[in-house]
């Protein structure tokens, strides 16, 4: 199908874009377009105005200061996947990004677009949740910072005002020797996962887990952190017993249900994928050490 008619604006600066958003009715922001263009073509989305922010060059880029990473909202997924700084500081990004769509969609798709589209199973919102990222939004009135935990308002809807643009995402890198993995269960490579799991954990000098974060995508309306499973890992020696206990805690969640997959099945997958993520993270370390 073809998109319905809209007026098209391509501002060169953020200020122009903010002014447009402040004055236009029923406007949508066009970032990488890898979800919005499909929704326009299918006429799920029928905006009267489209504000294309691809021409605003200062919205893209990856920087680091004192262990805190800052990623511009218009940074392409393919750039993130190949960036050596990001790979060094947060290698889980590459592992997750290689499971985002395909080369052709990652060449256009952006981190900000993915965060604002907020598909429940999408990898980048899950990573933002895993890192307790801070999202920076701008409007003509000023700038505000939202913790990722408060960013999802409801299903596929971010807590942004119609005149706001997400400009960047900030988060602290974990220690260099932290363990990580991002795994998905999906029907085909590149599809949205039925359930995705990401984990980070780091060890104390005595070899027990001192810090852990686990996130699930595809289970609830927004990616969810597994606080109980995370807590169960603290003080434990990494290995099968600790991972099994965390995985058991992971199935004890409220999962969504749709016409294809039952809540019960998603709970089952939550357990399986949590165990797989933790095991993969630890096995990788063992292999390197060997």
């Amino acid at each position: 199908m073809k998109a319905s008619p809209f007026a098209y604006f391509a501002p060169d600066t953020l200020q122009e874009a903010l002014d447009l958003l402040g004055s236009l009715d029923n406007a949508k922001i066009l970032a990488g377009g890898q979800s919005l263009m499909a929704m326009l073509n299918l006429r799920y989305a029928m905006p009267d105005q489209l504000v294309d922010i691809n021409g605003i060059s200062d919205l893209a880029g990856i920087t680091e200061q004192g262990g805190r990473l800052s990623i511009g909202a218009m940074t392409r997924q393919r750039v993130l996947e190949r960036d050596s700084l990001l790979f060094q500081k947060a290698p889980i990004f590459r592992e997750a990004l290689l499971q985002v769509g395909h080369i052709q969609t990652r060449n256009r798709g952006t981190i900000g677009g993915s965060l604002c589209h907020l598909d429940p199973a999408a990898e980048l919102p899950a990573l933002a949740m895993l890192y307790d990222a801070t999202l920076i939004a701008r409007s003509a009135k000023g700038e505000r910072a939202l913790p990722m935990a408060e960013f999802p308002a409801f299903y596929m809807t971010p807590a942004l005002e119609p005149d706001e643009i997400l400009t960047r995402i900030d988060f602290d890198a974990w220690p260099q020797d932290s363990h990580f993995a991002f795994v998905e269960f999906s029907r085909r490579h590149g599809d949205f996962a039925i359930v995705a799991a990401g984990c980070l954990f780091s060890l104390s000098p005595s070899g027990t887990i001192e810090r852990a974060a686990i996130v699930l995508g595809g289970v609830g309306a927004a990616p969810m952190r597994l606080t109980e499973a995370e807590n169960s890992l603290i003080g434990q020696v990494p290995g099968r017993a600790a991972f099994e206990a965390a995985a058991r805690a992971a199935q004890d969640i409220e999962a969504m249900e749709d016409s294809v997959y039952s809540a019960q099945y998603r709970c089952h997958l939550s357990e399986v994928m949590t165990r797989r993520a933790l095991t993969k993270a630890w096995d990788r370390h063992q292999e390197r050490a060997a």
């Binding site: 199908m1 073809k2 998109a3 319905s4 008619p5 809209f6 007026a7 098209y8 391509a10 066009l30 377009g33 890898q34 263009m37 499909a38 326009l40 073509n41 299918l42 009267d48 489209l50 294309d52 691809n54 393919r78 769509g101 395909h102 080369i103 052709q104 969609t105 060449n107 256009r108 085909r188 490579h189 590149g190």
Partner: protein, 166 residues
């Protein structure tokens, strides 16, 4: 907004190294613009929502879905389509030749998208493994071949391109 009120945009760009210009409404996607306005019908339009990969073209050397980009966004950019892969009027490019030799297509609908994807993939990695190729082509649906001959052809093209580089 009614049809008659739609603004026409002029799009000047480079296609297959030739400067081209056309006019279109803002909602026209790049694949339709190439086909209907520039009459380059080698780019195919399948699902129109970014799943099948038939409309894949290169924009500034990167493989993108032609249906998920607006034609107006291609202003000033360099686009390469399947027509740009032939070496001359009658001579096929290396990838095209390999696909022909290995019977890597039956109906051929998906082929332009697969070839354009492979252009970028083989530029990035001139010696890809079979697994890497299968993963790289996961965004291109083919319902005829079962992919086996596509992989054979891609591996042969990669080898031929490496040979040409020497």
């Amino acid at each position: 907004m009614t049809n008659s009120a739609e603004t026409l945009h002029t799009v000047a760009l480079t296609v297959n190294d030739v400067p081209r210009e056309g006019t279109c409404v803002a909602r026209q996607n790049l694949a339709d613009f190439l086909r209907h306005d520039l009459h380059l019908t080698g780019t195919h339009v399948g699902c129109e929502h970014g799943v099948c990969g038939a409309c894949t073209v290169l924009v500034d050397g990167q493989a993108v879905r032609g249906c998920l980009m607006l034609a107006v966004q291609a202003k000033g950019r360099s686009v390469t389509t399947i027509e740009g892969l032939t070496r001359s009027d009658q001579e096929l490019g290396v990838l095209q030749e390999a696909f022909s030799q290995h019977h890597a297509l039956q109906c051929g609908f998906c082929t332009p998208g697969i070839l354009m994807t492979l252009v970028e993939v083989l530029q990035d990695d001139p010696d890809p493994s079979e697994m890497a190729l299968r993963e790289a082509l996961s965004g291109n649906l083919c319902r005829c071949t079962g992919y086996q001959n596509i992989i054979d052809a891609a591996l042969a093209a990669a080898a031929a391109l490496r040979q040409n580089q020497k």
